[in-house]
Symmetry: C2
């Protein structure tokens, strides 16, 4: 289904707006699918995002600003987001000794095990969605999206 149908646009959209809307609607669709799956794990998308970032650190702790700059969707209060993950025992935080303004945040063993359970569910969704186009097309869209953000 094309975007015009999807959002039931009544009048013809200019080419620029059509692409913009399509990207936004598609992103929304993806978020809905992933968010729905994460609900089964009592995890929000930003929380999942932070967990993956911390795992990506491979043991090395991250401070708040590092997390923020790597998040898909930048957010104002990452502190409280981390608080939630700490409350669940998935993450831990110690104040950095070298620079006591900073904090060192890292994923716990429990957090890693938890992610390990969640991963395949999300992987399935991601591959299911992207499998509808081929590798060449995938790569092309990647390039073009990069250009749009340039």
């Amino acid at each position: 289904m094309n975007i015009e149908e999807t959002i039931k646009a009544t009048n013809k959209l200019p080419e620029s707006r059509r692409l913009i809307l399509n990207i936004l609607v598609t992103a929304n669709h993806i978020n809905d699918r992933i968010g729905e799956a994460l609900k089964g794990f009592d995890l929000s998308i930003p929380q999942f995002n932070v967990l993956r970032i911390l795992r990506g650190q491979k043991g090395k702790p991250a401070n708040l600003s590092t997390i923020q700059e790597r998040m898909v969707s930048r957010m104002s209060n990452t502190t409280r987001l981390v608080d939630k993950l700490i409350a669940k025992g998935l993450v831990e935080r110690v104040t950095c000794e070298a620079n006591r303004r900073k904090v060192e945040i890292s994923i716990t063993k429990k957090g890693l095990e938890f992610l390990h359970e969640v991963d395949p569910v999300i992987d399935n969704i991601e591959t299911e969605i992207t499998s509808r186009i081929n590798s060449v097309e995938n790569e092309l869209i990647n390039e073009k999206l990069n250009e749009l953000r340039a």
Copy 2:
């Protein structure tokens, strides 16, 4: 800049996740740009979205469910979103005589004039972003995004 750099991914991303992340990050980028511009008009993105939907009705009022199914980002409480627009005098609501469960929502003259001011600002952003790729590429991405949502 590619997504790996943009989100500073430490390890190589599988092709499926890379595309998914790229779409999400790009959508976020677009929303940030548009949201920033709308702030000058004291308007949120969903509010702007509703106004455009109502204008698209060309005089014919819309009820809540119609608005919801046309929104880029489906939301649970459209009632209160419309309330905000009514408070600003940009929209009006009367209960539908034919089916008194429904309401008839329409954009006011003031709302139309207001949109007319906002439009060029958003148009500029949309064309500025999309002008970085050509028409053929634009069309191709549109098609492929449609397939991803299929």
